[in-house]
Symmetry: C2
Subunit: 662 residues, 2 copies
């Protein structure tokens, strides 16, 4: 199979009647907000000449409830769409299996015949992934004028990077226009500026190619003139420059299609796991800033080389990059002294980093390729969050929405559809695993999902673990930590103050779990996994009392942040229509556990949405649309930054948020 | 003496009555338009603390008729003035000696007492130098708001380079403005743009200097932030980048004062003496463009280092340079392929070269110093001519004026006060000395002035030679060539067709010169200088028949150029109110000889004015005033370029101009 089926007619009138924003499908299948689902994509492609390519297989693991379309989109798998995943364009046709419990919406009925529906065809944006699924994606149809990125954002393609092929008349004694004017006269819808590097080549390229050339333009800068017609090769790279992980996505900006995606650990890791330790390094050692800058450059360069290799793209055909990073990562990548970011009163050198050449941040792409860095709202609400706001449409959606990027520094944005507030909460290292006894990064062997049955008996397991890579558990990652605490609170093994109950109390409230209470050194622990039946507690994977305290402090900082923002806008928990959990960590939290421990407002789990790598999505949007990029800059004016450390009511609110209230 | 005398009162009403443009002095002493005058300047200065400095001595050699003020100004000697040398501000006080035949104008009477006049005090702009003079220049008075440059141009100081000293409030938790905003808020009359290099230093400079810093601004680019108050140190360098000679002038843009001037041969000389041979070099050898670019860079760098050393200025305090060069010199300095300039249809890459860093043209000044290159009107009416037009006010003066830059390529501009036309005439190498048997550059030993007495007898010399450096004559430079031909035409030794007359005819028309006719090889020559009484003709300095032909062709090309321009505007010779002879060669032509051979229209010699190094003056103006710089760019729109090689009537006009008509 490779061609999506032709279904019943679809008219624009339907779109108009149903509106473009609200997803009009049947109610999604409810899910309980816990666990993970695995999606196996089989992606069909077509070569330039129309010939079918061998299908590519990709496995993707997401929290339940994410739509198939979003899951694909966040992972760089392109599916046809012109409406941005709102259920109206009827283009995102996929074949689902098993399809037994995937509901058929009225949009599916309009799009597909009964036979096709029976064969598993559905609109990908209307399928909520509530269990493991196999998904077949047909080849993309015609070159789109728009691409889908971010959280259901449909971006009309108008990239800053443009290529224009022109055939010019040769100069004569009666037409002595300069080479540059001859070229710009032919591209008269733009006010092109040429730098000296283009002028150095211009006359010889024009004459060697019989005045048939392709102008390479970024914004209104003419960055190169290439012989002949090279309009087909126009690429850009979107970087999510995280403190821990850096993700690079190679994009064909002509079609909006992601060509290759890859990620790696930030090579700055040896200088410290979080931004503060890296800033400290620059304060203690004059050479550190230069070395951190080089480490950032090396990371970006390696990712760029890798996505170009994977995508079979000549790095010389990459003309622009966009970088979304927090204020410290941005400063370090640009070689800007980060010290004032690390000490009160937390001041940035500039909110909008200047445009630089990609070569200035260590990239070996086209020599005049440009690098765009996202602007920051504050020292702790950086370009990654601005990119995330762009990707989630925080400035466009009229609903009341809360955006939380969970991490060592947690950024929170609240919009009521009119005003947008942002703040930063210092959550500490709990989620990164560093301060947790058995903590580890979300890598193979990390427990990421935990379910507890307090009254299990016989063969039924009292504790069920979801482990990344399905291997022997080695430790606990952030989402596992949250699950563990949430489950133990739920069954009463942890009281409202966060204390592990006594063994006596445990036997009463959770008889199947009581024997898991143990001591490691002076500390009480709850054993999650015993490698061997007679292993010592210290050899096990466990949750310690101190771990609970770490998480308590983190969640209190975060919930104090959004509580005070809600207060600022006069809103209650229930007014929040959607909570977006963002970032490489936040996206993998169990919504149910997040609600349980009070990390997010007490809301139905269906309102808690994993948003994926929104910084990377925002970076892609900035590359695909100058309008979206302008929107990112406009956010600097639209968003009010609330400094929490300055507020007299912060401490009181914080203490109030420490407990695990029911 | 050091303080200029206080004279009679002077009121603004006088200025208003007399107007600002017309020079209202007494008729200047008539001169015959031949020879040279030597001016010996004694320049008094004052240190920062007001203490008098030891006077500096400077010798200057100019064609007769140039004013003392202009002669000083063109040679980088600053004299007080606010009116630009128009005789109205009464500030340019100098003491002349001998003063016997220097007339006293009514402006002098209003400025000085009788005793002062008797002591030699005059207004420098009203003294036409018609003989050798000693000139004493008092120290400059207060820092001016304007400077005098070019040909009587008064430039209000508004340099692109600005320094602003600011004392900023330190950041607090309730004032977290970024460092950049904090700075730009304090300089709110400009829309400053900061590049990444400034941002890299900004936070540490602010904090190390207690937020008391000097912003360094070029146009609206913030190029640096320096600790403390450095507003006193703001320098720029104006370059006249000639094919043969390159001149650098270090300017204090805060006062408009030239600090040091120096010149050297263009290090591109080994690639050929003129632009065509250098362009050819790049066509025959792939490496040549790079080497020519390096040679230009080395020349500019050496001059920059020298003027900084002479002026006692730290090169780090030079933040901008302006370069006026022809289209080929400009292209080579920027590394732009010049080939299309050298072959029909003679096309430039761009009329306005892009702004580049000074470091990109090889200069080691402030690392972010900018380089401005003058735009060109055509492949053969380059940035040097645009700068010259600016310096001579070709676009502002309402008189009908003809501007001629004499050289291998001769540029001609004609303005009737409304329209401005320009063209280029290929004069060939006659003026540079290369194609002339005894030709040489205008260096020590070159005959630059020649007077002939056809009927001299006894001890009276038949031929009087002016030799540069007052040494034994070694050859003939361009102005000497023109003098020689003009004088021989005048006395009848050359007929109207340019042939040396027969010995018989010579004995009749010029008995004292007849014995100077001789043969060198197959060629008839006229001996100008015999090193020894019995020297062979070949050992002498002589003018050959072929030399005369070379000059004939050159003058025919030039006069065809301005003749056709006059025709275009429907003007006669007599309508031309001023002829400006520009460039390092043109400025030293004898006006009388230029008229005699028909190089310029038949006009009274007083209308023929040596304009000096107008390209360099234009470059200075561009550094001192953004308004003037905008004026240079506006010339691109205002001036109509006339391509001569395209005109059907060119050949006929050329033949017509070959003869030496009376």
């Amino acid at each position: 199979m490779s061609t999506p089926p032709e279904g019943p007619d679809f008219s624009l009138a339907d779109v108009a009647r149903e509106g473009l924003i609200e997803r009009p499908g049947a109610e999604p299948v409810p899910h309980d907000g816990t666990g993970r689902v695995d999606l196996s994509f089989t992606v069909h492609g077509r070569a330039e000449d129309g010939a079918e390519l061998p299908p590519a297989e990709r496995g993707v693991r997401v929290p339940p409830g994410v739509t198939v379309f979003d899951a694909a989109s966040w992972n760089g798998i392109a599916i046809d769409s012109t409406c941005g995943g709102h259920g109206t364009c009827h283009k995102c046709k996929v074949r689902i299996s098993p399809q037994a419990d995937v509901p058929v919406t009225r949009h599916d009925r309009r799009t597909f015949t009964d036979a096709q529906l029976g064969d598993g065809w559905r609109l990908g944006c209307l399928v909520n992934a509530t269990r493991d699924l196999a998904v077949e994606v047909p080849p993309l149809t015609t070159r789109p004028k728009a691409a889908t990125v971010g959280i259901g954002r449909q971006v009309i393609l108008r990239p800053a990077l443009q290529k224009r092929y022109v055939e010019l008349a040769e100069a004569t004694l009666s037409d002595q226009r300069t080479d540059l004017v001859r070229l710009t006269d032919a591209i008269d819808d733009l006010e092109l500026k040429a730098d000296v590097h283009v002028l150095r080549r211009l006359s010889s390229v024009l004459r060697q190619s019989d005045f048939k050339v392709t102008a390479v333009i970024v914004d209104e800068d003419l960055i190169d003139v290439e012989p002949g017609d090279t309009t087909g090769a126009r690429y850009a790279i979107a970087f999510d420059l995280g403190t821990t992980t850096v993700v690079g996505t190679l994009l064909d900006v002509g079609t909006g299609t992601p060509v290759a995606v890859t990620s790696m650990l930030n090579a700055q890791q040896p200088f410290g796991g979080d931004v503060i330790t890296r800033i400290s390094a620059t304060m203690m050692d004059d050479q550190a800033l230069g070395r951190l800058q080089q480490a950032a450059a090396a990371t970006l360069a390696q990712l760029a080389a890798q996505v170009c290799r994977e995508g079979g793209v000549d790095p010389q055909h990459v003309y622009e990059v966009a970088v979304a990073g927090n204020a410290t990562m941005t400063a370090l990548a640009l070689g800007i002294d980060p010290e004032p970011l690390g000490v009160a009163p937390f001041v940035m050198s500039a909110a909008q980093p200047p445009s630089v050449l990609a070569s200035e941040i260590g990239l070996s792409l086209h020599p005049r390729a440009r690098a765009f860095f996202f602007p920051a709202l504050g020292a702790y609400v950086g370009g990654d969050i601005v990119a995330g706001m762009l990707a989630t449409g925080m400035d466009r959606d009229k609903r009341t929405r809360l955006f939380i990027d969970v991490g060592t520094n947690c950024e929170i944005v609240l919009s009521d559809g009119e005003k947008i507030l942002s703040t930063a909460a210092p959550a500490g290292p709990a989620f990164e695993g560093g301060a947790i006894r058995c903590g580890m990064r979300a890598a193979d062997g990390a427990i990421e999902v935990i379910k507890v049955d307090a009254t299990a008996s016989g063969d039924a397991p009292a504790v069920t673990l979801g482990v990344i890579g399905d291997v022997e558990p080695k430790g606990l990652c952030g989402s596992g930590l949250v699950d563990a605490v949430a489950e133990l609170v739920r069954v009463g093994m942890l009281d409202a103050t966060g204390r592990l109950v006594t063994e006596e109390a445990a036997k009463e409230v959770a008889p199947a779990l009581a024997d898991r209470l143990a001591m490691v050194g002076e500390e009480r622990v709850f054993v999650l996994h015993r490698p061997t039946p007679d292993a010592e507690p210290a050899e096990c994977v466990y949750l310690s009392q101190r771990d609970v305290r770490e998480l308590q402090f983190a969640k209190a900082a975060i919930s104090t942040g959004w509580s005070l923002l809600l207060e600022e806008l006069g809103l209650e928990h229930r007014d929040v229509q959607q909570v977006l959990l963002a970032g490489s960590f936040g996206s993998y939290l169990s919504p149910a556990s997040a609600v349980r421990i009070g990390l997010v407002p007490k809301l139905p789990v269906l309102r808690i949405v994993a948003a994926g790598n929104v910084a990377g999505e925002g970076a892609k949007m900035a590359l695909l649309s100058v309008r979206e990029r302008a929107g990112a800059l406009a956010l600097l004016e639209e968003v009010t930054y609330v400094e929490l450390s300055d507020r007299p009511d912060f401490n009181e609110a914080f203490v109030d948020q420490l407990s695990f209230k029911a």
